[in-house]
């Protein structure tokens, strides 16, 4: 997190954050952090220090309060990542059904090492079970679940993403 430019949270996002806060007792600001970080990440692909600063400012919180949430939860990316996040579940049920082969296939196909990004893709070895064990092996692409994967299915998923461009 080296970026020191100033950032203003777009007014539409501010409105959404304020609406979200209505779910909680008056004066509670922290409960909006996770939701707001999701909004910021959606718009910027990853979270920079200027985003953390801006959110702390908006919610009138200490920067550390926001930063420790951003760094604790695994869905928040604090380094630059590719346009699409592909998370291949490699927990037990998926491993038993060949998730390691799917992950290796994606590495070769996308020409990126697991845990790294190209401009287009961020390939993640998801160690936390994604709760789709009966459809193993599975992966998520930008929050969408794809289950019962085969190499052919992976080819089609990637082809569909390429075609959407």
């Amino acid at each position: 997190m080296k970026d020191k430019d100033l950032y203003n949270i777009p007014s539409e996002a501010c409105t959404k954050i304020n609406e979200w806060l209505l779910k909680f007792p008056d004066g509670e600001k922290k409960p909006a952090i996770i939701y707001a970080l999701h909004l910021i990440q959606k718009e910027n692909k990853y979270i920079k220090s200027k985003h953390v600063d801006a959110l702390a400012n908006l919610l009138n919180l200490k920067k550390i309060d926001v930063y420790e949430v951003a760094s604790f939860y695994s869905m928040f990316e604090l380094e630059k990542v590719g346009k699409h996040t592909i998370s291949v579940c490699t927990n037990v049920s998926c491993m038993l059904k060949g998730s390691d082969e799917i992950l290796a296939y994606l590495e070769r196909k996308l020409k990126i090492k697991v845990g790294t990004s190209s401009d287009e893709y961020f390939l993640k070895d998801e160690r936390e079970c994604l709760a789709a064990c009966c459809g193993a092996p599975m992966m998520q692409v930008d929050h969408r679940y794809y289950e019962n994967l085969t190499k052919e299915k992976v080819d089609k998923i990637i082809r569909d993403i390429e075609n959407e461009k």
Binding site: K23, F24, P25, E28, K29, K30, P31, A32, I33, I34, Y35, L37, H38, D65, E68, V69, F72, Y73, S74, M75, F76, T90, N91, V92, S93, M95, L96, K97, R127, E128, C129, L130, A131, A132, C133, C134, G135, A136, Q140, H143, R144, Y145
Partner: protein, 424 residues
């Protein structure tokens, strides 16, 4: 095939429809009639709690604690603000039932949340969905919630009764530990998911320092029919100490992996048959019967036991969340334990030293063994670690990480020894 097994009658009842998650389907199966009756009659809160106690329903998230008893910890006389939280942070490895309940029967979860909120005197209720559910699962749940609001089942002056209950959806951001109930409260409050010391228990001091009850998705989705059909109905299903239905997520080496909701006490071999038997006609080697946090059981043991809390406990494991992971005869148990240990090492929140350090040691030793660089001394160290972690931490994560290690070495020590080349 056992045609006489009752299947998908409670939380998965809407699966018989082509449009399972719609309000119409839910209403056509008698949905919201329990809630309407409660709201209309102003049913006595204690009466509802007593009924849930009598039903014998046990928490379906994994701990298996009596739901009614948990509710009874709330002081109904107190005029403090109270909260109900639905734990939809499903993440115990092997478990995928809550995701399907939320996708295919979201109204049962909502009705269960309303009844539970009413019974404990909560006017605000939260459903905390894991961040990874923000696609289809969240969409289906949110749509159902909007329908419930527009039909005035939720909100202000519910169905003209002057009862007010707000029900909010919340979304997490990826952390296994947040499934632990006090870590979830921290997360809702917008903090890192660090479990809290107990006592005070959440029913005394929970969310925003107020009395709070946290229940699992499947538990809450079971409530409406338990209230409407009565505890005798629920008791007539399952066994004496494990009454009712339970959703089992059967995954791994089976022909038809899937979620099967069957009576507790169903023989394991019948559940395996429902899931199409072991893939490729292979023999069964081992089963993790309740999510990766519970001890593994060899196939020859589990083939003779029933799927209820007591039978599995007597066999040396736990029913847990109902995640049944099947492994065939070719499974490398060292690799499986390596994967499990890697998971706990990645997900330990780091708050307590025995867990933070111990999960790392366990993973690194198994990794060393797997790479062929391990020694007998490493196996001794590995065997000694679970005892140092278990019961020495704030939450049960340490125990959860330790139990599989103990059991894998107990039953499959030879496989670990086979990885040792140097006897130094």
């Amino acid at each position: 095939m056992k045609n006489n097994i009752r299947i998908n009658e409670l939380c998965f009842s809407t699966l018989s429809s082509n449009n399972p998650n719609s309000l119409e389907t839910y209403l056509s199966q008698g949905g919201y009639s329990t809630w309407k009756k409660i709201v209309n009659d102003f049913t006595d809160k204690q009466e509802i709690i007593d009924l849930v106690v009598k039903s014998g329903l046990r928490g379906r998230g994994g701990a298996g604690f009596s739901t009614g008893k948990k509710w009874s910890f709330i002081n109904l006389e107190s005029d403090e603000i109270k909260y109900l939280v639905c734990n939809a942070d499903e993440s115990e490895p092997g478990t995928c039932k809550d995701r399907d309940i939320l996708r295919y029967n979201p109204h049962a979860v909502i009705e269960g949340m309303l009844i539970a909120s009413y019974a404990i005197g909560a006017n605000v209720s939260y459903c905390y969905l894991r961040g990874e559910f923000m696609g289809e699962v969240y969409k289906n749940f949110k749509q159902a919630l909007n329908e419930a609001y527009s039909n005035n089942f939720v909100g202000n002056n519910i169905l003209g009764s002057e009862i007010n209950i707000e029900l909010h959806d919340l979304i997490g951001a990826g952390a296994y530990i947040v499934g632990e109930e006090t870590a979830m409260l921290e997360s809702i409050e917008g903090k890192k998911g660090f479990p809290r010391y107990k006592p005070p228990f959440p029913a005394i001091k929970g969310l925003f320092n107020s009395p709070t009850i946290i229940n699992n998705v499947e538990t809450l989705a079971s409530i409406p029919k338990i209230i409407s059909n009565g505890p005798i109905w629920f008791n007539s299903i399952g066994t004496k100490d494990s009454p009712g239905f339970k959703c089992f997520s059967v995954s791994g080496h089976v022909n038809k992996p899937g979620n099967y909701e069957v009576p507790l006490g169903t023989p394991f071999k019948d559940l395996l048959e429902l899931a199409g038997g072991v893939k490729n006609n292979k023999k069964i080697k081992a089963v993790i019967p309740g999510g990766s946090s519970v001890p593994v059981l060899p196939g020859n043991i589990i083939m003779n036991i029933n799927m209820d809390y007591e039978s599995i406990a007597n066999a040396g494991s736990l029913l847990g969340s109902g995640a049944v992971i099947i492994m065939d005869e070719n499974t490398n148990m060292v690799k499986v334990l390596h994967r499990i240990a890697r998971f706990y090492y990645s997900e330990s929140c780091g708050q307590c030293t025995p867990c933070r350090e111990g999960t790392g040691w366990m993973y690194k030793i198994i990794d060393k063994l797997l790479s062929g660089k391990g020694s007998l001394k490493d196996i001794e160290t590995l065997e000694s670690l679970p005892n140092m972690i278990a019961s020495s931490t704030i939450c049960a994560f340490g125990d959860a990480a330790a139990m599989p290690v103990e059991s894998f070495i107990k039953y499959y020590k030879n496989e670990f020894l086979n990885y040792i080349k140097n006897e130094d």
